[in-house]
Subunit: 130 residues, 2 copies
């Protein structure tokens, strides 16, 4: 694995970004300062970073792939109105892995939880529907 300038820029940029950016978000951010970077390189390096456990890929319904720089296990919430993604830091439910493993014979490595509902802003009608 080669130490390229692009890999470094992509790693540094996503580390500075907040929330759960898509590959496109990361590309746009880098493109401001390095207009020659290729979107394919951004995709390739984001996947590389995920494989190397430097970032996480987050599963979000009806969304292009998103990445997360927060490594400790946590869950996510998606607002049905504005579409925003929020981190949910309740305790990781490791016991349900065991429950499912025992009930079904699957070897369970992990699980994701996505909560769905309305965020406080949208409850107050302050946001337009996406």
């Amino acid at each position: 694995m080669r130490q390229t300038i692009q890999y470094q820029i992509i790693q540094d940029t996503i580390q500075k970004m907040h929330g759960h950016p898509t590959a496109e978000d990361v590309y746009q951010e880098i493109h401001k300062e390095y207009p020659n970077i290729s979107k394919a390189t951004v995709y390739r390096n984001l996947h590389q970073l995920a494989d190397n456990k430097k970032i996480n890929q987050v599963l979000i319904p009806d969304s292009p792939e998103r990445f997360d720089t927060i490594l400790p296990k946590h869950y996510h919430f998606k607002c049905k109105k504005c579409g925003d993604i929020f981190d949910v830091n309740i305790d990781y439910l490791s016991e349900i892995n065991d429950t499912v493993q025992n009930a079904y014979g699957f070897q369970i490595d992990d699980h994701d939880i996505i909560f769905k509902g309305i965020c406080p802003k949208c409850q107050n009608g302050k946001e337009l529907q996406h």
Copy 2:
């Protein structure tokens, strides 16, 4: 909402299908008997059926959209090797909705859980990697 032949065929076909078919799967199945059906119609009616709560849309990582004819709330498991999706019928964790609602002020309607690991077949090396 009009009662079209296509809507009926699509509803009947997916009800007969097992597992978690994609729109393409449903299209292929119908296409055998009704080669004139349009893929756009299949997409439109599957979404219609989901809106009407006749079927559920299931969220699966790295997969085209999938549908589920089993309506009671349940979870899913995806095998990392063969890619198969399995239903997971452990108790629905309604209490975590309250936990998150109280902690974050979100109005939580529901949550999905996707378990990830290796299914029994693949543990025995009987399946090729997808």
